[in-house]
Amino acid sequence: MPNYTLNVNGQSMSVNVDADTPLLWVLRDELDLVGTKFGCGIAQCGACTVHIDGQATRSCQLLVSNLDGQKITTIEGLSENGDHPLQEAWKEVDVPQCGYCQAGQIMTAASFLNNNPNPSNEEIREAMQGNICRCASYNRIEKAVAIAAKKVS
């Protein structure tokens, strides 16, 4: 199996996997970074969202062989002490129900706020449209992103 060197959360990591392995499964099975979740495998739910060079990307559709030295950030590496403004806002608003979708929600929101630190409510709703929360904690996700935006700006 070919060898790939990945830059994950600021660390260089080496894995032996098939070229067609999605990043999602490299993270979960090979690197034990299980914070990135499997929900659909076809880029429909957002549970597997990570950052590639800072941009929110669905890791279930990104093949390991298509990564070329890009910086990969997962929920585990979003902040050093779990205190990213979004993580803080998530605690403040008590967002999660089952919690399964939340890492993906936070990663989507983090990259969105980087690109748009001062969003309107409509922009937040649009940006989060791609992430399913089966428990429907949407009201609180919306609120927490708005609170985090205030903290960021």
Binding site: K37, G82, G99, Y100, C101, A103, E142
Partner: protein, 739 residues
């Protein structure tokens, strides 16, 4: 939790037992379900302490030397918040600061626990008394121990915030007297707190797993790993009604990382009586690999032939269910007065038919389980709502004593009823026992949606007789796939409100597996019934809220034990909702719909506001009023209600699974629509304050949502909706209206 049991103390009532821990601190074991039952099943007089062990207990509290309290939450967490709210109740009566409390999920082991099920929104309701008793009794033991140490009368001592104080102002922390307390007799009839003195109950406690959730720590079933573990992906018949004929694994075995391909299902089949109806036991093929991806890839490479038995389609179901409604073969589930006579004498009869599709559960974490079946033990880890059932079944299947089976429960990425059914845990156990390796079975989304235990398709026909401007009779018929409404549902509103009343059910047996789905039956019945009442109000020229309140007067003071909803509590809930939601005072361009429904012991009313955007109705806001008694954890409670309302709206609007020749119409989210953020209204939640015992919240917020938006959509567009999902039928009707 396996600890040295060097001192034993058992109360005569026997719901609680204590033990000093060898390493310091004390352990309190109690039985949640025995303690809250009217008659204890355990012996009344217990003399021989050594004959008792901790087997009879299903929950534990550990108090360390430092005064820190660990509460082992006995109920599986599926997102409904009991892992936070149940320990809050204990901590309240024990009187310890909430930040000194650690909550751990208890494992299932026949030796240590009795009943553990998360379902039916019953956890809090059943645990309320037991949890309070346990906390209060433990606190009294600590006080008694401190008093003995000081040599003073216990009645002169007080305990608060984890500290015991005597009349002189001397203090002991709880941790300083655990050893002595563990050796004391368990006091009886300990007084509980007055609710007005609550310090923890009624305050916001955030999800106890919050830090792990927002930082991505391992928590869920799929996150579990063990040295030497392999992965399994299972090929099942693509259509219901198919069976495996043959398969060729050559290509699958050639996939990098694939270890083996096995056919299995015989062991489960040998004891299948218990799983009839919800699990397909036709022989299946598992691809075993050293990674999830390789297992999934291997499965795709399998070449299988299927043989057909009976393939069903939605058209067949529609036909069969309508035939039942048109026919005469029903089970009468409740009958009051003389419906026939009321209908014969009526000025007018209104009759409507309501239809719903199948629904998959779609827990965001697909079904999965870890199993390690070896000579010594059967170790199972993952998300399951019914560990006790699974343990028993697997023991039987593997022909092992139940004591060998140990289930560790992880946090669950959603339940919604799906994880009541243990098909995946049985599969994991069978595969592990066949390959003699620890294995994690992982469903792909396609497996999860395609091999479900779906909410069954149901049709209701409701008729009412009207005479002299009053509703004199009510007749509801249910035709459902596989199974019918259960328990007290036939006795819900309007039973007791209308003198001539009848509920009948009939079913059609299908080979499509079905089961409980969040708020079983009522998830659709509430919409049907409450839309019907909206139409009745229109017919009678009455205000929709007033009609419900008027009817509820008739049930007040009922002596009928089957009627457990309360006319008064429902009325109060309706009034609160109407007031907070400004019923009847909508501004121009805003259309309101109302719905009230009691289920799972909780009374709920919801008012939806719809606006028109380019001629299409958009749900903008929902105001919910909820009577769930004392609200233990408001932030968690609001979260549950908001989620339930949005889930109810999402499935009423979009949820749709049909079958063509046994094949489900969707297997992934590209062709199955779930509600997403831009479709969500804001949900405002209000609670009725009445100081009564708490009831569940995981389900009751959902049923009224469909009715509330259907009624609001009617107000906005003039269209009555009779079928779900609304989007499918709404477009057509609106198009007709627009001409």
């Amino acid at each position: 939790m396996r600890t040295e049991q060097n001192t034993f103390t058992v109360s005569r009532r026997n719901f609680l037992r204590t033990s000093a821990l060898a390493g310091g601190g004390m352990l309190i074991g109690f039985n949640l379900f025995t303690a809250c039952k009217k008659e204890a099943t355990l012996p009344k007089e217990v003399i021989d302490f050594s004959s008792l062990n901790f087997n009879d207990f299903n929950a534990f509290i550990k108090i360390s030397d430092e005064g820190y309290v660990t509460i082992f939450a006995p109920n599986p967490e599926i997102g409904q918040g009991v892992k936070t709210s149940m320990p809050m109740i204990i901590a309240e009566e024990l009187d310890v600061p909430w930040d000194h409390v650690v909550v751990a999920q208890a494992d299932y082991n026949k030796k240590e626990y009795t009943r553990q099920v998360a379902g039916g929104s019953q956890s809090i309701r059943q645990g309320w008394d037991a949890l309070r008793q346990t906390g209060a009794t433990t606190k009294q033991m600590l006080i008694n121990a401190a008093a003995a140490k000081w040599g003073v009368d216990a009645s002169t001592c007080k305990a608060s915030n984890g500290v015991i104080t005597n009349a002189n102002g001397d203090t002991f922390g709880y941790g300083e007297v655990t050893k002595e307390a563990a050796a004391l007799e368990v006091p009886e009839n300990v007084a509980l707190k007055d609710p007005k003195d609550y310090k923890i109950i009624g305050t916001d406690a955030i999800n106890v797993d919050m830090d792990k959730i927002v930082t991505g720590k391992p928590l869920f079933g799929l996150d579990y790993k063990k040295e030497g573990m392999v992965y399994a992906s299972i090929l099942r018949p693509p259509a219901f009604g198919q069976k495996l004929k043959s398969f060729d694994a050559t290509a699958a075995k050639a996939v990098n990382g694939v270890i083996d391909v096995i056919q299995f299902g015989d062991k489960a089949d040998s004891v299948k009586d218990q799983i009839k109806g919800f699990m397909r036991v036709t022989d299946k093929v598992a691809v075993i690999a050293n990674s999830t991806w390789a297992a999934m890839k291997g499965k795709k490479a399998l070449n299988a032939q299927w043989e057909e038995e009976k393939l069903e389609s939605t058209e067949d179901h529609d036909k069969e269910l309508l035939k039942i409604l048109d026919g005469k073969k029903f089970d009468v589930r409740r009958e009051d007065g003389n419906v026939k006579k009321a209908f014969a004498e009526a000025d007018k009869i209104i009759e409507r038919t309501y239809e719903s599709p199948f629904l998959p559960h779609n827990c965001l974490e697909p079904m999965n389980f870890y199993a390690d079946v070896n000579g010594e033990k059967v170790h199972l880890v993952g998300p399951i709502q019914t560990p006790q059932w699974s343990a028993g079944y697997i023991a039987k299947m593997l022909d092992r004593p139940e004591e060998d089976v140990h289930i560790e429960m992880t946090r669950m990425g959603g339940g919604f009823g799906r994880r009541l059914y243990g098909d995946f845990i049985v599969e994991a156990a069978e595969i592990s026992s066949t390959i003699n390796k620890p294995v994690q079975v992982v469903f792909s989304r396609e497996d999860d949606m395609g091999a479900g235990t779906y909410r069954m398709a149901i049709k209701y026909r409701i008729a009412a007789s009207i005479k002299d401007g009053e509703i004199t009779g009510y007749h509801l018929k249910e035709a459902a796939v596989n199974s019918n409404m259960y328990g007290l549902i036939p006795h819900f509103f309007p039973a007791g409100c209308i003198a001539n009343y009848k509920v009948e059910t009939g079913n059609y047996q299908s080979n499509i597996t079905t089961g409980a789905w969040r708020a079983p039956y009522t998830n659709f019945l509430a919409f049907a019934e409450q839309s019907f009442f909206d139409e009745l109000a229109e017919e009678l020229g009455k205000d929709a809220v007033q009609l419900r309140i008027d009817l509820l007067q008739n049930v007040k003071g009922t002596q009928d034990e089957n009627i457990q909803y309360s006319g008064q509590r429902m009325e109060d809930t309706i009034r609160l909702c109407a007031e907070k939601g400004n019923w009847g005072k909508a501004p121009e361009g805003v259309y309101q719909g109302f719905c009230a429904y009691y289920s799972h012991n909780t009374h709920v009313a919801e008012l939806a506001e719809v606006e028109l955007k380019d001629g299409q109705p958009v749900v903008k806001k929902v105001v919910a009023a909820v009577d769930c008694g004392i609200v233990v954890n408001p932030t968690g409670a609001i979260n549950q209600v908001q989620g339930g309302v949005l889930d109810g709206i999402g499935h009423a609007m979009y949820g749709d699974l049909t079958f063509t020749n046994g094949n489900p119409s969707a297997r992934n989210f590209d062709n199955y629509r779930l509600i997403r953020m831009q479709e969500t209204p804001q949900v405002e939640v209000h609670f009725v304050e009445n100081g009564l015992s708490p009831t569940g919240l995981g389900e009751p917020g959902l049923p009224p949502a469909g009715g509330a938006i259907a009624n609001a959509i009617k107000a906005a567009t003039g269209q009555r909706l009779y079928k779900q999902p609304f989007v499918k039928y709404l477009n057509q009707e609106l198009k007709e209206v627009k001409g």
